[in-house]
């Protein structure tokens, strides 16, 4: 075993405390970010299932009629990378052997522009080749059951035809009527050559494998005499976020987004995931920061070893290799342990329903993004190694003779160290935003504004790290100033603590900043959740507070119920929810009379009239913001028979139309009259309603709910299973949901607090080892354990106070940036709030964490052997 490995290995084994805590520092940092990234991956993959029969590409669209739909036009839209025209229908395949029934098989026909078919990855070819639109012949890909059960092979000729069509129906003035045109249906039949057989996955599993895929134009020929609505499949650009895509599509297309791209992409989900990933990044930086200083400080303690090795003939390169090997072993073990811990954390979290989309959401499977995980582990490893450069630089300037004499051997290398700190600070300034960009943008689209805001947040946090590297003396002087008043109470402990902090500015500065970083994260997070709660409260005031939702009614006439309830004191409106339509967002039917007594209709009765008389729509504030709708804009919706209807935006408000199930805040309300006329959805008979009270009295169970319960029983004496839920209960649930979901953040912050305390612990432990002789001499001179331990505890508390103060100031300063970022990512209208009561809690918690971190070093200080300390240099 070589010199470097022998000395490094022994150094690690003989100082298990230092080694374990250093490894834990790297490991916790890597584990947190690996855990977060893996959990996020598992969450999204767990929601987006593997390829199944019936799976569709990212987006299905139909042209609205306002534009002539074409693949080229669609591909020119912002946010669309590939598009293809398609349709699906039943078809009949006639096989070469005309043996009665066996020769005619009903299949699902998919006609798609062949040039793009492969881009969607919805099918694979097990035998033969894919469709070739340039071949000049009609080609078909057949499903596996046609090949296996009916012996269809590549190169065979089959005849495809459409089935006879049933009588057509149309929604006319709210009634579905049969279309009689007197013609005799004679389906076309065409011969196709089998180009390939599909694999039994994706589209190949549709209809039990009885599938035929042909080029769009060839399919259209088959259905030439039938009305085929052109539809498109499209794949979105990787970088574009969902809201921008929706805005891009909304004016000209009706569309449906598939679960694969929707999972985790909703505005609030993106915001949440971004926050989780940012915390992961913060943890990684903190871990690297801790290990950097652990390695730096380990040199001071071991400078005599360096002198001895040099005196025995070791070159500085050999000595440097010892430290490098040691750092590599520490960093390697830390990174490896970090990966294991991170994966375990992610696995357990996923098992217990803790995901990056919140708590209580269970996902299937546990896919691991190995390339990202390995990349992060390598980043942790490499930056920790960079931390070992400082010892190498310092050794270059170490005074061997002074080291052998037990004097300050690093005096000459202080200049090097300062330059190195500057270089490291610059590196972090690049690395932190760089890591952010690597880790986070996959969650959403990076607009210029968003990048500015997020870099502002990351920059503020980086500032803390830089502060300790650039101005350690100022920070340690601040800590010493905090401890000085306590010297009056405990003179020896106070003096020792003050001197210790002044002698080790880097250690004290780093510890204070590490704690400050966590406290800032905590205050910033709780500022953000306070803003989210504020947003819910604001929304609730308009949409929830004076309402009660009634569910599970027996089928009841809405008008009868409305008239009955309107007679009760305080009731100002009744809404219905029995008719719903997606076009493509949620549309519910509203009753003019039920809505006239509150909200904008009460303020302006003309709106109420227009709501009934014209094709108008009232849209929610979130829908208006996300899809950029204003009053008088036109919303296009497709009726069941494919006709496009235009509705003018009448008002933007949350006062009407919110329903707790589904919990959707992006919706529109149209009059029940137009819902029936255009969509053939009647809503006269209801099973659930919401009842709006005036705001003259606070809502109570005994008051409003009691009145409503009695009123319903009065009208419907046999109704015994209906339920009432007040808006206040809905609001309380929404608020508790925020707290429950953000538990993930608290969990990550707890891990980071552990990391920061490891930093403090490591620093104090190394200082104890370094000063063991001094401590031994003090013991020999009669200093009690309490005095020595008191000095160390005092130092920790002073560092905690400065770190906590720094964190609180920074967290409060960062909160507006965080909230702005959330606004930008999530498209929410967040009020600006501060963390409130969490600010003193963060401060106190920081001091407590610092004090706890001092316990182990104090215990080690108590074991210092006074006899040995005074016997040897």
């Amino acid at each position: 075993m070589g010199l470097a490995l022998t000395v490094a290995r022994r150094s690690l084994l003989q100082r298990p405390g230092r080694s374990i805590f250093s490894i834990l520092g790297v490991a916790l940092g890597v584990a947190t970010v690996v855990g977060v990234v893996t959990l996020d991956h598992a969450t999204i993959e767990g929601y987006a299932r593997p390829l199944q029969a019936g799976d569709r590409p990212d987006i299905e669209l139909a042209a609205s009629g306002a534009v002539a739909g074409s693949t080229e036009a669609l591909e020119n839209l912002e946010g669309i990378s590939v598009a293809a025209q398609y349709f699906q229908n039943e078809a009949v395949v006639t096989l070469p052997s005309p043996e009665a029934e066996r020769g005619r098989i009903r299949v699902q026909l998919v006609a798609i522009e062949a040039r793009h078919a492969a881009s969607f990855g919805l099918f694979g070819v097990a035998a033969g080749v894919d469709l070739d639109p340039s071949s000049g012949e009609r080609q078909v890909l057949v499903g596996p059951s046609l090949a296996e059960e009916h012996g269809v092979a590549v190169g065979d000729e089959v005849v495809l035809s459409r089935p006879r069509r049933p009588s057509r129906k149309r929604c006319e003035d709210g009634v579905l009527v049969k279309v009689e045109d007197g013609s005799v249906d004679r389906p076309r039949a065409e011969t196709f050559r089998v180009a390939g057989v599909l694999t039994r996955e994706g589209m190949g599993r549709s209809a039990g494998g009885a599938v035929a895929v042909v080029d769009f134009e060839a399919g259209r020929e088959l259905f030439r005499d039938v009305d085929i609505q052109p539809r498109f499949w499209a794949v979105k650009d990787a970088g574009v976020d969902l809201e921008r895509l929706r805005r891009s599509l909304a004016t000209s297309y009706s569309y449906a987004l598939n679960q694969g791209i929707v999972a985790g992409q909703a505005a609030d989900e993106r915001a949440f995931r971004t926050g989780v990933r940012m915390l992961g990044l913060l943890a990684l930086v903190l871990g690297l920061y801790v290990i950097f200083h652990t390695l730096s400080m380990s040199l001071t303690e071991r400078v005599t070893e360096v002198g001895t090795l040099h005196a025995l003939g070791s070159t500085r390169r050999q000595i440097g290799r010892v430290f490098f090997t040691e750092a590599a072993l520490l960093a390697g073990a830390g990174a490896a342990l970090g990966v294991v811990l991170g994966l375990a954390f992610a696995y357990l979290a996923a098992r217990f329903g803790i995901t990056t989309l919140g708590v209580g959401k269970y996902v299937r499977g546990f896919p691991v993004p190995w390339s990202t995980v390995v990349g992060l582990a390598l980043t942790g490893f490499v930056v920790a190694l960079i931390g070992s450069v400082y010892p190498l630089v310092a050794i270059g300037g170490a005074n061997t003779l002074a080291a052998l004499r037990g004097e300050d051997a690093l005096e000459r290398s202080r200049g090097h160290a300062r330059r190195f700190h500057l270089v490291y600070a610059a590196l972090l300034a690049i690395l932190v935003p760089g890591l952010y960009v690597v880790l986070v943008p996959v969650v959403g689209e990076m607009t210029g504004e968003l990048v500015t805001v997020l870099l502002g947040v990351v920059g503020l946090l980086t500032l803390v790290v830089l502060l300790s590297l650039l101005l350690p003396a100022a920070l340690s002087a601040l800590c010493a100033a905090v401890a000085r008043p306590l010297a009056g109470v405990a003179p020896l402990a106070g003096r020792l603590a003050v001197r210790s902090m002044r002698d080790a500015p880097a250690r004290v500065g780093v510890s204070a900043c590490a704690l400050g970083l966590v406290a800032a994260g905590f205050v910033g997070l709780h500022g953000m959740t306070a803003s989210l709660r504020g947003e819910v409260t604001n929304w609730s005031a308009e949409a929830l507070d004076d309402k009660v939702w009634v569910k599970n009614l027996p089928p009841t006439s809405f008008e009868e119920l409305r008239e009955h309830l309107s007679g009760f004191p305080g009731v100002v409106g009744v809404e219905k929810a029995s008719a719903r339509q997606y076009a493509p967002f949620l549309i519910v039917a509203g009753s003019r009379d039920g809505m006239a007594g509150f909200g904008p209709f009460a303020e302006d009765p003309a709106l109420s009239r227009r709501f009934f008389d014209e094709r108008t729509i009232v849209i929610s504030r979130r829908l208006a913001r996300d899809l950029d709708y204003s009053v008088d804009d036109v919303v296009r919706m497709q009726s069941p028979n494919g006709q496009m209807r235009s509705y003018a935006v009448l008002a933007i408000t949350d006062a009407y139309g919110y329903w707790t199930s589904p919990d959707e805040r992006m919706y529109g309300v149209i009059s029940d009259r137009w819902m029936e006329k255009d969509f053939c959805l009647a809503s006269e008979v209801v099973t659930e309603v919401s009842v709006r009270f005036d705001d003259s009295r606070p809502m109570t169970d005994a008051g409003h709910l009691g009145v409503l319960d009695a009123a319903i029983r009065d009208l419907l004496p046999n109704a015994d299973s209906f339920t009432l839920r007040s808006g206040l209960a809905v609001r309380a649930y929404a608020l508790s949901d925020i707290g429950r979901d953000f538990f993930v953040f608290d969990l990550l912050l707890a891990l980071m607090a552990g990391l920061a305390s490891l930093g403090v612990l490591n620093g104090m432990l190394l200082a104890t080892l370094e000063r063991s002789r001094e401590l031994g001499v003090l013991r020999a001179l009669g200093a009690s354990r309490g005095q020595i331990g008191g000095a160390m505890m005092l130092e920790a508390i002073a560092v905690g106070i400065v770190g906590g103060g720094l964190g609180v100031v920074l967290g409060v300063a960062a909160t507006p940036f965080v909230v702005s970022a959330l606004d930008e990512i999530a498209g929410l209208d967040l009020p600006r709030r501060t963390a409130g009561v969490w600010i003193p809690i963060a401060f106190g918690g920081t001091v407590l964490v610092a004090a706890l971190a001092a316990l182990y070093p104090i215990r080690r200080a108590h074991t210092v052997d006074a006899v040995r300390a005074v016997r040897t240099r």
Partner: protein, 247 residues
């Protein structure tokens, strides 16, 4: 006899805040192969500084230290380190054993520094430890040893590399009398039996009595160019010289 070490008109001046402080002033002497030379002097006379210059750990302000035919004073640090590795075994007053390495690993350290595998030298390490009476302490760590044992381990470390010159800086300064005598007997033995050259700095007349030649360093100068010559210089004669030189 050939000279292993030649010291010519050696000066070492420490730069002070106000004025320069000369530690060594024109020191000149030779050390022959297999000779045991002791340099005596009071605290602050420049003994340890002289040893640092002889080993190439420090650079002289003027003069020459010729080790193995090369003037250390004219060499860059890397070359001086290489010469030290090849020619010098070092024994320190405070032992300077690596605290995290076992006795066996400490003894094998110069082998590892030379780029060889210490495991292949384990027989030699064991034999050396046996000669020095620490064969049963090979797996122990420095903090488990007595002062005498630590210094024996330090001597073994200085001997294992086979370097011809042994520089010893007050090797008994931290030891009890009996342990100190044992260490000196050991140094004498390696000089007599193994033909190593030993340069010892000390202020202990008893230790000096083990040497073939004793030089006296007073205020950075050799007080008596020839010093005392042995073998078997009586301790009383050394004390008498010290008195005469007011040391």
């Amino acid at each position: 006899m050939t000279s292993v070490l030649e010291v010519q008109d050696l000066y070492k001046i420490h730069a002070g805040t106000g004025e320069d402080h000369p530690v060594l002033r024109g020191v000149t002497f030779d050390v022959e192969e297999g000779e045991f030379v002791c340099i005596m002097g009071p605290s602050g006379s420049g003994k340890t500084t002289l040893l640092h210059l002889l080993s190439g750990l420090d650079e002289p302000s003027a003069g020459a230290v010729v080790l193995g035919g090369t003037d250390l004073a004219r060499q860059p640090e890397a070359v001086r380190t290489g010469l030290r590795r090849e020619h010098v075994g070092y024994v320190f007053q405070f032992f300077h054993l690596m605290p995290n390495l076992s006795v066996e690993e400490n003894i094998g350290l110069p082998v590892a520094i030379a780029g060889k595998n210490p495991a292949r030298e384990s027989a030699r390490i064991a034999a050396l430890a046996k000669k020095l009476g620490i064969e049963d302490r090979l797996s122990a760590f420095p903090h488990e040893l007595s002062g005498g044992e630590m210094q024996r381990a330090s001597i073994a470390r200085a001997l294992i590399g086979g370097q011809p010159l042994l520089l010893c800086d007050e090797p008994t300064g931290n030891l009890a009398q009996a342990a100190g005598r044992e260490v000196m007997e050991e140094l004498r033995r390696v000089c007599d039996e193994e033909g190593r050259t030993v340069v010892l700095v000390t202020h202990n007349p008893r230790d000096a009595s083990f040497a073939d030649r004793v030089l006296f360093l007073v205020d950075g100068e050799l007080a008596d160019a020839d010093g005392l010559r042995g073998p078997n210089i009586p301790e009383s004669q050394i004390n008498e010289t010290l008195s005469r030189l007011s040391i």
